[in-house]
Protein backbone atom coordinates (compact mmCIF):
# COMPACT_ATOMS: atom_id res chain seq x y z
CA UNK A 1 0.00 0.00 0.00
CA UNK A 2 2.81 2.44 -0.73
CA UNK A 3 1.48 3.88 -3.99
CA UNK A 4 0.51 7.52 -4.22
CA UNK A 5 -3.02 8.57 -3.39
CA UNK A 6 -5.35 9.71 -6.11
CA UNK A 7 -4.68 13.36 -7.03
CA UNK A 8 -8.33 14.37 -6.83
CA UNK A 9 -8.67 12.76 -3.45
CA UNK A 10 -5.73 14.76 -2.08
CA UNK A 11 -7.17 17.85 -3.75
CA UNK A 12 -10.58 17.28 -2.17
CA UNK A 13 -9.17 16.99 1.34
CA UNK A 14 -6.64 19.81 1.09
CA UNK A 15 -8.44 22.43 -0.95
CA UNK A 16 -10.92 23.86 1.60
CA UNK A 17 -8.27 24.63 4.23
CA UNK A 18 -5.47 25.47 1.83
CA UNK A 19 -7.53 27.79 -0.34
CA UNK A 20 -8.73 29.59 2.79
CA UNK A 21 -5.11 29.98 3.91
CA UNK A 22 -4.01 31.03 0.41
CA UNK A 23 -6.73 33.63 -0.18
CA UNK A 24 -7.13 34.96 3.32
CA UNK A 25 -3.61 34.73 4.64
CA UNK A 26 -0.87 34.32 2.02
CA UNK A 27 -2.32 36.70 -0.57
CA UNK A 28 -3.00 39.38 2.07
CA UNK A 29 0.63 39.06 3.27
CA UNK A 30 1.90 39.62 -0.29
CA UNK A 31 -0.61 42.43 -0.81
CA UNK A 32 0.54 44.00 2.46
CA UNK A 33 4.13 43.97 1.24
CA UNK A 34 3.09 45.65 -2.02
CA UNK A 35 0.89 48.21 -0.25
CA UNK A 36 3.79 49.10 2.06
CA UNK A 37 5.62 50.44 -1.02
CA UNK A 38 2.75 52.81 -1.90
CA UNK A 39 1.19 55.92 -0.42
CA UNK A 40 -2.20 54.19 -0.16
CA UNK A 41 -4.44 56.44 1.95
CA UNK A 42 -8.05 57.57 2.21
CA UNK A 43 -7.83 59.59 -1.04
CA UNK A 44 -6.58 56.67 -3.11
CA UNK A 45 -9.29 54.53 -1.55
CA UNK A 46 -11.82 56.78 -3.32
CA UNK A 47 -9.84 57.04 -6.54
CA UNK A 48 -7.22 54.37 -7.21
CA UNK A 49 -5.50 56.56 -9.83
CA UNK A 50 -4.12 58.65 -7.01
CA UNK A 51 -2.19 55.64 -5.72
CA UNK A 52 1.56 56.08 -6.19
CA UNK A 53 4.45 53.69 -5.87
CA UNK A 54 6.92 55.30 -3.50
CA UNK A 55 9.51 52.55 -2.93
CA UNK A 56 10.90 52.46 0.59
CA UNK A 57 9.55 55.89 1.49
CA UNK A 58 7.20 54.54 4.19
CA UNK A 59 10.04 52.64 5.86
CA UNK A 60 12.34 55.66 5.67
CA UNK A 61 9.60 57.78 7.16
CA UNK A 62 9.34 55.33 10.07
CA UNK A 63 12.99 55.99 10.86
CA UNK A 64 12.24 59.69 11.22
CA UNK A 65 8.97 59.17 13.12
CA UNK A 66 9.46 59.93 16.82
CA UNK A 67 6.09 58.43 17.71
CA UNK A 68 7.06 55.17 16.04
CA UNK A 69 10.29 55.04 18.03
CA UNK A 70 8.27 55.69 21.14
CA UNK A 71 6.00 52.75 20.25
CA UNK A 72 9.06 50.63 19.51
CA UNK A 73 10.66 51.53 22.83
CA UNK A 74 7.43 50.86 24.79
CA UNK A 75 6.88 47.51 23.12
CA UNK A 76 10.47 46.40 23.80
CA UNK A 77 10.06 47.56 27.39
CA UNK A 78 6.95 45.41 27.67
CA UNK A 79 8.57 42.38 26.04
CA UNK A 80 11.96 42.57 27.75
CA UNK A 81 10.64 43.28 31.25
CA UNK A 82 7.19 41.66 31.11
CA UNK A 83 8.36 38.53 29.25
CA UNK A 84 11.09 37.38 31.66
CA UNK A 85 8.91 38.38 34.62
CA UNK A 86 6.03 36.27 33.28
CA UNK A 87 8.32 33.30 32.82
CA UNK A 88 9.79 33.67 36.32
CA UNK A 89 6.32 33.79 37.89
CA UNK A 90 5.24 30.79 35.80
CA UNK A 91 8.30 28.83 36.90
CA UNK A 92 7.70 29.80 40.52
CA UNK A 93 4.06 28.70 40.34
CA UNK A 94 5.06 25.44 38.65
CA UNK A 95 7.68 24.67 41.31
CA UNK A 96 5.09 25.43 43.97
CA UNK A 97 2.48 23.10 42.50
CA UNK A 98 5.08 20.43 41.78
CA UNK A 99 6.11 20.32 45.42
CA UNK A 100 5.10 17.17 47.26
CA UNK A 101 4.14 19.24 50.26
CA UNK A 102 1.33 21.21 48.61
CA UNK A 103 -2.26 20.07 49.09
CA UNK A 104 -5.17 20.60 46.66
CA UNK A 105 -2.81 20.83 43.68
CA UNK A 106 -5.53 20.40 41.08
CA UNK A 107 -7.67 23.12 42.61
CA UNK A 108 -4.76 25.55 42.72
CA UNK A 109 -3.76 24.68 39.16
CA UNK A 110 -7.27 25.50 37.97
CA UNK A 111 -7.38 28.75 39.92
CA UNK A 112 -3.98 29.89 38.66
CA UNK A 113 -5.00 29.05 35.13
CA UNK A 114 -8.38 30.82 35.01
CA UNK A 115 -7.04 34.27 33.98
CA UNK A 116 -5.57 32.68 30.83
CA UNK A 117 -8.98 31.78 29.38
CA UNK A 118 -10.69 35.04 30.26
CA UNK A 119 -11.40 37.84 27.79
CA UNK A 120 -8.58 40.38 27.77
CA UNK A 121 -10.92 43.30 27.06
CA UNK A 122 -13.04 42.48 30.11
CA UNK A 123 -10.11 41.94 32.48
CA UNK A 124 -8.41 45.10 31.23
CA UNK A 125 -11.60 46.99 32.15
CA UNK A 126 -11.65 45.36 35.59
CA UNK A 127 -7.99 46.22 36.19
CA UNK A 128 -8.59 49.77 35.08
CA UNK A 129 -10.81 50.14 38.13
CA UNK A 130 -8.43 48.17 40.37
CA UNK A 131 -5.77 50.71 39.42
CA UNK A 132 -8.00 53.70 40.20
CA UNK A 133 -5.83 56.18 42.15
CA UNK A 134 -8.52 56.95 44.76
CA UNK A 135 -10.96 54.04 44.91
CA UNK A 136 -8.92 51.18 43.46
CA UNK A 137 -8.21 48.23 45.73
CA UNK A 138 -4.60 48.00 44.63
CA UNK A 139 -3.70 51.33 46.21
CA UNK A 140 -5.79 50.36 49.23
CA UNK A 141 -3.88 47.10 49.65
CA UNK A 142 -0.43 48.66 49.25
CA UNK A 143 -1.39 51.37 51.75
CA UNK A 144 -1.05 48.68 54.44
CA UNK A 145 2.57 48.32 53.41
CA UNK A 146 2.97 52.03 53.98
CA UNK A 147 3.11 52.90 50.29
CA UNK A 148 1.47 56.14 49.17
CA UNK A 149 -1.25 55.99 46.51
CA UNK A 150 0.13 55.59 42.99
CA UNK A 151 -1.59 57.04 39.93
CA UNK A 152 -0.95 53.81 38.06
CA UNK A 153 -2.46 54.59 34.69
CA UNK A 154 -2.15 58.36 34.86
CA UNK A 155 1.59 58.58 35.45
CA UNK A 156 3.91 57.94 32.48
CA UNK A 157 6.38 56.20 34.79
CA UNK A 158 3.86 53.71 36.19
CA UNK A 159 1.55 53.09 33.24
CA UNK A 160 3.72 50.48 31.53
CA UNK A 161 4.57 48.66 34.79
CA UNK A 162 0.81 48.57 35.48
CA UNK A 163 0.20 46.94 32.11
CA UNK A 164 3.04 44.49 32.77
CA UNK A 165 1.52 43.47 36.12
CA UNK A 166 -1.82 42.83 34.41
CA UNK A 167 -0.12 40.80 31.66
CA UNK A 168 1.83 38.68 34.14
CA UNK A 169 -1.34 37.98 36.14
CA UNK A 170 -3.27 37.14 32.97
CA UNK A 171 -0.67 34.87 31.35
CA UNK A 172 1.47 33.11 33.95
CA UNK A 173 -0.89 30.11 34.12
CA UNK A 174 -0.17 29.13 30.53
CA UNK A 175 3.59 28.72 30.86
CA UNK A 176 3.06 27.25 34.31
CA UNK A 177 1.33 24.26 32.70
CA UNK A 178 4.29 23.76 30.37
CA UNK A 179 6.77 24.05 33.24
CA UNK A 180 4.83 21.55 35.37
CA UNK A 181 5.00 19.07 32.49
CA UNK A 182 8.72 19.80 32.11
CA UNK A 183 9.34 19.25 35.82
CA UNK A 184 7.47 15.96 35.80
CA UNK A 185 9.69 14.73 32.99
CA UNK A 186 12.84 15.09 35.09
CA UNK A 187 13.84 11.62 36.38
CA UNK A 188 13.47 11.37 40.18
CA UNK A 189 16.67 9.29 40.34
CA UNK A 190 18.72 12.40 39.55
CA UNK A 191 17.47 14.13 42.68
CA UNK A 192 17.91 10.98 44.74
CA UNK A 193 21.50 10.60 43.59
CA UNK A 194 22.19 14.26 44.40
CA UNK A 195 20.64 13.82 47.84
CA UNK A 196 22.93 10.86 48.55
CA UNK A 197 25.83 13.18 47.78
CA UNK A 198 24.38 15.65 50.28
CA UNK A 199 23.45 18.32 47.73
CA UNK A 200 21.56 21.38 48.94
CA UNK A 201 18.15 22.33 47.53
CA UNK A 202 19.63 25.30 45.73
CA UNK A 203 22.34 23.11 44.20
CA UNK A 204 19.72 20.61 43.00
CA UNK A 205 17.67 23.41 41.48
CA UNK A 206 20.65 24.99 39.77
CA UNK A 207 22.34 21.81 38.56
CA UNK A 208 19.41 19.50 37.79
CA UNK A 209 16.12 21.37 37.50
CA UNK A 210 17.19 24.39 35.48
CA UNK A 211 19.38 22.58 32.91
CA UNK A 212 16.77 19.89 32.32
CA UNK A 213 14.03 22.50 32.00
CA UNK A 214 16.01 24.34 29.32
CA UNK A 215 13.91 23.04 26.38
CA UNK A 216 10.70 24.16 28.15
CA UNK A 217 12.21 27.51 29.04
CA UNK A 218 13.24 27.94 25.42
CA UNK A 219 9.77 27.14 24.10
CA UNK A 220 7.97 29.35 26.63
CA UNK A 221 10.39 32.22 25.92
CA UNK A 222 9.62 32.08 22.22
CA UNK A 223 5.83 31.93 22.50
CA UNK A 224 5.79 34.56 25.23
CA UNK A 225 7.98 36.88 23.19
CA UNK A 226 5.87 36.46 20.05
CA UNK A 227 2.67 37.07 21.98
CA UNK A 228 4.00 40.04 23.93
CA UNK A 229 5.25 41.85 20.83
CA UNK A 230 1.60 41.97 19.73
CA UNK A 231 0.49 44.04 22.73
CA UNK A 232 -2.71 45.86 21.85
CA UNK A 233 -5.90 45.40 23.91
CA UNK A 234 -4.40 46.38 27.28
CA UNK A 235 -3.26 49.87 26.25
CA UNK A 236 -6.28 50.31 23.96
CA UNK A 237 -8.67 49.75 26.88
CA UNK A 238 -6.72 51.08 29.82
CA UNK A 239 -4.73 54.07 28.55
CA UNK A 240 -5.38 54.62 24.81
CA UNK A 241 -1.60 54.66 24.53
CA UNK A 242 -1.18 57.45 27.08
CA UNK A 243 -0.23 59.16 29.27
CA UNK A 244 2.22 61.04 27.04
CA UNK A 245 2.32 58.02 24.72
CA UNK A 246 4.05 55.99 27.42
CA UNK A 247 2.00 52.88 26.59
CA UNK A 248 1.63 53.31 22.83
CA UNK A 249 2.53 49.88 21.38
CA UNK A 250 3.55 48.95 17.84
CA UNK A 251 0.21 47.28 17.11
CA UNK A 252 -1.77 50.12 18.66
CA UNK A 253 0.15 52.60 16.48
CA UNK A 254 -0.43 50.40 13.44
CA UNK A 255 -4.15 50.28 14.24
CA UNK A 256 -4.41 54.04 14.68
CA UNK A 257 -2.51 54.84 11.47
CA UNK A 258 -4.37 52.26 9.41
CA UNK A 259 -7.89 52.18 10.75
CA UNK A 260 -8.32 55.57 12.32
CA UNK A 261 -6.41 57.84 9.93
CA UNK A 262 -6.50 55.46 6.94
CA UNK A 263 -2.78 55.93 6.21
CA UNK A 264 -2.82 52.41 4.88
CA UNK A 265 0.57 52.23 3.19
CA UNK A 266 2.22 53.56 6.32
CA UNK A 267 0.23 51.31 8.66
CA UNK A 268 1.17 48.19 6.73
CA UNK A 269 4.86 49.13 6.80
CA UNK A 270 4.57 49.27 10.60
CA UNK A 271 3.08 45.76 10.55
CA UNK A 272 6.02 44.56 8.47
CA UNK A 273 8.55 46.03 10.86
CA UNK A 274 6.75 44.14 13.64
CA UNK A 275 7.05 40.96 11.58
CA UNK A 276 10.78 41.52 11.05
CA UNK A 277 11.29 42.16 14.77
CA UNK A 278 9.45 38.96 15.73
CA UNK A 279 11.37 37.01 13.11
CA UNK A 280 14.74 38.32 14.30
CA UNK A 281 13.80 37.71 17.92
CA UNK A 282 12.94 34.11 17.12
CA UNK A 283 16.16 33.56 15.12
CA UNK A 284 18.26 35.04 17.94
CA UNK A 285 16.60 32.75 20.48
CA UNK A 286 17.18 29.69 18.28
CA UNK A 287 20.88 30.61 17.92
CA UNK A 288 21.17 31.08 21.65
CA UNK A 289 19.44 27.77 22.33
CA UNK A 290 21.93 25.88 20.12
CA UNK A 291 24.76 27.39 22.14
CA UNK A 292 23.43 26.33 25.52
CA UNK A 293 22.03 22.97 24.48
CA UNK A 294 23.34 20.04 26.49
Amino acid sequence: MKEKSNFWLVFLFLSPALSAILFFFIIPVVAALLISFTDFDIYSLGDLRRLRFIGFENYLKLFRDELFFKALFNTFYFVLVGGPLSILVSLFAALLLNSKLVKFKKLFRTIYFIPVVTTIVAVAIVWRYLYHPRFGILNYLISFLGINPVDWLGDPVFAMPAIIILAVWKNFGYNMILFIAGLQNIPVELYEAAELDGASNWFKFKSITLPLLAPTTFFTSIITMIGYFQLFAEPYIMTQGGPLNSTLSIVLYMYQEGFRWWNMGYSVSIAFVLFLIILSGTIIQFRYEKRIHY
Binding site: S5, F24, T119, A181
Partner: protein, 275 residues
Protein backbone atom coordinates in the same frame (compact mmCIF):
# COMPACT_ATOMS: atom_id res chain seq x y z
CA UNK B 1 13.87 17.31 61.50
CA UNK B 2 10.22 16.44 61.80
CA UNK B 3 9.30 19.88 63.09
CA UNK B 4 11.20 21.72 60.34
CA UNK B 5 9.35 19.63 57.82
CA UNK B 6 5.97 20.66 59.24
CA UNK B 7 6.78 24.37 59.29
CA UNK B 8 7.97 24.16 55.72
CA UNK B 9 4.78 22.36 54.77
CA UNK B 10 2.57 25.00 56.37
CA UNK B 11 4.58 27.79 54.81
CA UNK B 12 4.49 26.41 51.28
CA UNK B 13 0.75 25.76 51.50
CA UNK B 14 0.22 29.29 52.72
CA UNK B 15 2.16 30.64 49.74
CA UNK B 16 0.07 28.53 47.34
CA UNK B 17 -3.08 29.81 49.02
CA UNK B 18 -1.84 33.40 48.90
CA UNK B 19 -1.05 33.19 45.16
CA UNK B 20 -4.53 31.76 44.66
CA UNK B 21 -6.09 34.71 46.50
CA UNK B 22 -4.07 37.20 44.45
CA UNK B 23 -5.20 35.48 41.25
CA UNK B 24 -8.84 35.53 42.28
CA UNK B 25 -9.13 39.05 43.74
CA UNK B 26 -9.87 40.77 40.40
CA UNK B 27 -12.68 38.30 39.66
CA UNK B 28 -14.17 38.44 43.13
CA UNK B 29 -14.16 42.22 43.04
CA UNK B 30 -15.62 42.25 39.51
CA UNK B 31 -18.59 40.06 40.52
CA UNK B 32 -19.03 41.88 43.78
CA UNK B 33 -18.94 45.37 42.25
CA UNK B 34 -21.37 44.30 39.52
CA UNK B 35 -23.94 43.65 42.27
CA UNK B 36 -23.45 46.95 44.08
CA UNK B 37 -25.75 49.95 43.87
CA UNK B 38 -24.67 52.68 41.47
CA UNK B 39 -21.75 54.59 42.96
CA UNK B 40 -21.15 52.15 45.81
CA UNK B 41 -17.90 50.83 44.33
CA UNK B 42 -16.36 54.30 44.10
CA UNK B 43 -15.89 54.83 47.83
CA UNK B 44 -12.88 55.01 50.09
CA UNK B 45 -11.99 52.69 51.70
CA UNK B 46 -13.03 50.32 48.88
CA UNK B 47 -15.81 47.85 49.66
CA UNK B 48 -15.28 44.21 48.85
CA UNK B 49 -18.92 43.20 49.15
CA UNK B 50 -22.20 44.93 48.25
CA UNK B 51 -24.32 46.19 51.13
CA UNK B 52 -27.25 44.57 49.36
CA UNK B 53 -27.34 42.58 46.16
CA UNK B 54 -28.56 44.64 43.22
CA UNK B 55 -29.13 43.05 39.79
CA UNK B 56 -30.26 46.27 38.14
CA UNK B 57 -27.06 46.71 36.10
CA UNK B 58 -27.52 43.34 34.46
CA UNK B 59 -31.13 44.13 33.69
CA UNK B 60 -30.16 47.52 32.30
CA UNK B 61 -27.51 45.96 30.04
CA UNK B 62 -29.97 43.52 28.53
CA UNK B 63 -32.97 45.85 28.37
CA UNK B 64 -31.37 49.15 27.35
CA UNK B 65 -27.95 48.38 25.94
CA UNK B 66 -28.62 45.48 23.56
CA UNK B 67 -26.51 42.98 25.50
CA UNK B 68 -28.66 40.12 24.16
CA UNK B 69 -27.65 41.05 20.63
CA UNK B 70 -23.91 41.17 21.46
CA UNK B 71 -24.11 37.93 23.37
CA UNK B 72 -25.82 36.25 20.45
CA UNK B 73 -23.26 37.64 17.98
CA UNK B 74 -20.38 36.33 20.09
CA UNK B 75 -21.97 32.95 20.60
CA UNK B 76 -23.00 32.46 16.97
CA UNK B 77 -19.61 33.54 15.62
CA UNK B 78 -17.64 31.41 18.04
CA UNK B 79 -19.78 28.37 17.22
CA UNK B 80 -19.69 28.90 13.45
CA UNK B 81 -15.94 29.50 13.30
CA UNK B 82 -15.35 26.46 15.51
CA UNK B 83 -17.47 24.10 13.41
CA UNK B 84 -16.23 25.24 10.02
CA UNK B 85 -12.57 25.33 11.00
CA UNK B 86 -12.78 21.92 12.65
CA UNK B 87 -14.09 20.42 9.42
CA UNK B 88 -11.57 22.14 7.13
CA UNK B 89 -8.59 21.62 9.43
CA UNK B 90 -9.34 17.96 10.04
CA UNK B 91 -9.66 17.25 6.31
CA UNK B 92 -6.29 18.86 5.61
CA UNK B 93 -4.76 17.16 8.64
CA UNK B 94 -5.94 13.78 7.33
CA UNK B 95 -4.30 14.45 3.97
CA UNK B 96 -1.03 15.40 5.66
CA UNK B 97 -1.15 12.48 8.08
CA UNK B 98 -2.36 9.63 5.93
CA UNK B 99 -2.52 10.37 2.21
CA UNK B 100 0.56 10.05 0.00
CA UNK B 101 1.52 12.77 -2.42
CA UNK B 102 4.78 14.16 -3.75
CA UNK B 103 5.01 17.61 -2.24
CA UNK B 104 3.54 16.64 1.14
CA UNK B 105 6.53 17.32 3.39
CA UNK B 106 7.55 20.50 1.61
CA UNK B 107 4.00 21.83 1.64
CA UNK B 108 3.60 21.03 5.33
CA UNK B 109 6.89 22.71 6.23
CA UNK B 110 5.83 25.75 4.23
CA UNK B 111 2.54 25.91 6.14
CA UNK B 112 4.36 25.65 9.48
CA UNK B 113 6.67 28.49 8.46
CA UNK B 114 3.60 30.71 8.06
CA UNK B 115 3.06 30.56 11.83
CA UNK B 116 5.87 33.07 12.31
CA UNK B 117 3.95 35.77 10.39
CA UNK B 118 1.88 37.80 12.85
CA UNK B 119 -1.77 38.11 11.89
CA UNK B 120 -1.61 41.90 12.04
CA UNK B 121 0.32 41.92 8.75
CA UNK B 122 -2.71 40.57 6.89
CA UNK B 123 -5.36 42.74 8.51
CA UNK B 124 -5.37 45.76 6.25
CA UNK B 125 -5.37 43.93 2.90
CA UNK B 126 -7.92 41.50 4.31
CA UNK B 127 -10.11 44.39 5.37
CA UNK B 128 -9.96 45.94 1.88
CA UNK B 129 -10.66 42.56 0.31
CA UNK B 130 -13.67 41.84 2.50
CA UNK B 131 -14.92 45.37 1.90
CA UNK B 132 -14.87 44.71 -1.85
CA UNK B 133 -16.84 41.52 -1.24
CA UNK B 134 -19.35 43.38 0.96
CA UNK B 135 -18.45 41.36 4.05
CA UNK B 136 -17.69 44.23 6.42
CA UNK B 137 -20.29 44.30 9.21
CA UNK B 138 -21.30 40.77 8.44
CA UNK B 139 -20.60 37.44 10.11
CA UNK B 140 -18.61 36.48 7.01
CA UNK B 141 -16.04 39.12 7.92
CA UNK B 142 -15.05 37.05 10.95
CA UNK B 143 -15.85 33.56 9.68
CA UNK B 144 -13.88 33.79 6.42
CA UNK B 145 -10.44 34.49 7.89
CA UNK B 146 -11.14 31.91 10.63
CA UNK B 147 -12.05 29.00 8.36
CA UNK B 148 -8.67 27.29 8.59
CA UNK B 149 -5.58 27.62 10.74
CA UNK B 150 -2.07 26.23 10.43
CA UNK B 151 -1.94 25.53 14.15
CA UNK B 152 -5.20 23.56 13.92
CA UNK B 153 -3.94 21.47 11.02
CA UNK B 154 -0.68 20.86 12.89
CA UNK B 155 -2.40 19.77 16.11
CA UNK B 156 -4.80 17.39 14.35
CA UNK B 157 -2.11 15.95 12.09
CA UNK B 158 0.12 15.12 15.08
CA UNK B 159 -2.75 13.11 16.53
CA UNK B 160 -3.87 11.44 13.31
CA UNK B 161 -0.33 10.22 12.59
CA UNK B 162 -0.70 7.98 15.64
CA UNK B 163 -3.75 6.21 14.16
CA UNK B 164 -2.42 2.87 12.82
CA UNK B 165 -2.33 2.54 9.03
CA UNK B 166 -3.55 -1.04 9.40
CA UNK B 167 -6.98 0.24 10.47
CA UNK B 168 -7.27 2.31 7.31
CA UNK B 169 -5.91 -0.44 5.07
CA UNK B 170 -8.36 -2.94 6.54
CA UNK B 171 -11.28 -0.62 5.86
CA UNK B 172 -10.03 -0.06 2.33
CA UNK B 173 -9.85 -3.80 1.68
CA UNK B 174 -13.46 -4.00 2.87
CA UNK B 175 -14.24 -1.53 0.11
CA UNK B 176 -14.68 1.65 2.14
CA UNK B 177 -14.13 4.89 0.20
CA UNK B 178 -11.70 7.50 1.53
CA UNK B 179 -14.57 9.79 2.48
CA UNK B 180 -16.12 6.97 4.45
CA UNK B 181 -12.80 6.16 6.10
CA UNK B 182 -12.44 9.81 7.05
CA UNK B 183 -15.89 10.24 8.52
CA UNK B 184 -16.39 6.78 10.03
CA UNK B 185 -12.89 5.96 11.29
CA UNK B 186 -10.63 8.99 11.50
CA UNK B 187 -13.11 11.50 12.93
CA UNK B 188 -14.48 9.23 15.69
CA UNK B 189 -10.95 8.17 16.68
CA UNK B 190 -9.81 11.81 16.80
CA UNK B 191 -12.70 12.87 19.01
CA UNK B 192 -10.56 13.95 21.96
CA UNK B 193 -8.19 16.12 19.94
CA UNK B 194 -11.13 17.58 17.99
CA UNK B 195 -12.75 18.60 21.27
CA UNK B 196 -9.45 20.13 22.38
CA UNK B 197 -9.03 22.16 19.21
CA UNK B 198 -12.72 23.05 19.25
CA UNK B 199 -12.43 24.52 22.74
CA UNK B 200 -9.28 26.43 21.76
CA UNK B 201 -11.03 27.87 18.73
CA UNK B 202 -14.24 28.68 20.57
CA UNK B 203 -12.50 30.48 23.42
CA UNK B 204 -10.08 32.19 21.05
CA UNK B 205 -12.88 33.52 18.85
CA UNK B 206 -14.98 34.54 21.83
CA UNK B 207 -12.09 36.52 23.34
CA UNK B 208 -10.73 37.98 20.10
CA UNK B 209 -10.68 41.76 19.96
CA UNK B 210 -8.56 43.48 17.31
CA UNK B 211 -10.06 41.83 14.23
CA UNK B 212 -13.73 42.15 15.31
CA UNK B 213 -12.99 45.76 16.23
CA UNK B 214 -11.83 46.36 12.66
CA UNK B 215 -14.54 44.44 10.80
CA UNK B 216 -17.60 45.15 12.94
CA UNK B 217 -18.10 48.91 12.77
CA UNK B 218 -21.90 48.87 13.06
CA UNK B 219 -22.99 48.52 16.68
CA UNK B 220 -25.61 45.87 15.87
CA UNK B 221 -22.78 43.57 14.75
CA UNK B 222 -20.51 44.04 17.77
CA UNK B 223 -19.20 41.03 19.63
CA UNK B 224 -19.06 41.24 23.44
CA UNK B 225 -15.43 42.48 23.67
CA UNK B 226 -16.03 45.18 21.03
CA UNK B 227 -19.30 46.19 22.71
CA UNK B 228 -17.55 46.39 26.10
CA UNK B 229 -14.77 48.56 24.68
CA UNK B 230 -17.38 50.86 23.16
CA UNK B 231 -19.46 50.99 26.36
CA UNK B 232 -16.30 51.88 28.22
CA UNK B 233 -16.17 55.10 26.22
CA UNK B 234 -19.68 56.21 27.23
CA UNK B 235 -19.98 54.70 30.70
CA UNK B 236 -16.49 55.09 32.20
CA UNK B 237 -17.98 56.40 35.43
CA UNK B 238 -20.54 53.59 35.74
CA UNK B 239 -18.18 51.15 37.41
CA UNK B 240 -20.94 48.76 38.49
CA UNK B 241 -22.44 48.65 35.00
CA UNK B 242 -19.04 47.98 33.39
CA UNK B 243 -18.37 45.20 35.89
CA UNK B 244 -21.72 43.58 35.06
CA UNK B 245 -20.76 43.73 31.36
CA UNK B 246 -17.39 42.15 32.16
CA UNK B 247 -19.05 39.35 34.12
CA UNK B 248 -21.35 38.56 31.19
CA UNK B 249 -18.36 38.44 28.85
CA UNK B 250 -16.06 36.38 31.06
CA UNK B 251 -18.47 33.96 32.73
CA UNK B 252 -19.36 31.79 29.69
CA UNK B 253 -15.71 30.98 28.90
CA UNK B 254 -14.86 30.32 32.53
CA UNK B 255 -17.81 27.94 32.90
CA UNK B 256 -16.87 26.22 29.66
CA UNK B 257 -13.28 25.92 30.85
CA UNK B 258 -14.38 24.46 34.19
CA UNK B 259 -16.08 21.60 32.35
CA UNK B 260 -13.43 20.89 29.75
CA UNK B 261 -10.19 21.75 31.58
CA UNK B 262 -8.66 18.38 30.88
CA UNK B 263 -8.93 18.84 27.11
CA UNK B 264 -7.71 22.42 27.19
CA UNK B 265 -4.61 21.63 29.21
CA UNK B 266 -3.74 18.55 27.17
CA UNK B 267 -4.00 20.77 24.08
CA UNK B 268 -1.41 23.18 25.43
CA UNK B 269 0.96 20.29 26.01
CA UNK B 270 0.44 18.66 22.61
CA UNK B 271 0.79 22.02 20.90
CA UNK B 272 4.17 22.51 22.50
CA UNK B 273 5.70 19.32 21.12
CA UNK B 274 8.32 20.23 18.63
CA UNK B 275 8.42 18.62 15.21
Amino acid sequence: MKKGFTIKKILINLIAFFVGILTMIPFVWMISASLMKTGESAKYPPKFFPSEVDFSHYIFLFQNLEMTRYFFNSLALALLVTMISLLFNSMAAYAFAKLRFGVKDKLFKFLLSLMIVPGQVTMLPLFLMLKQLGFINSYFGIIIPGMASVFGIFLLRQFMMSIPDSLIDAARIDGASDLKIFFKIIIPLSKSVLITLGIFTFIGTWNDFLWPLIVMTDSSMYTLPVALASLMGEHTQDTELMMAGSVITILPVVILFAFVQKYYISGILVGSIKE
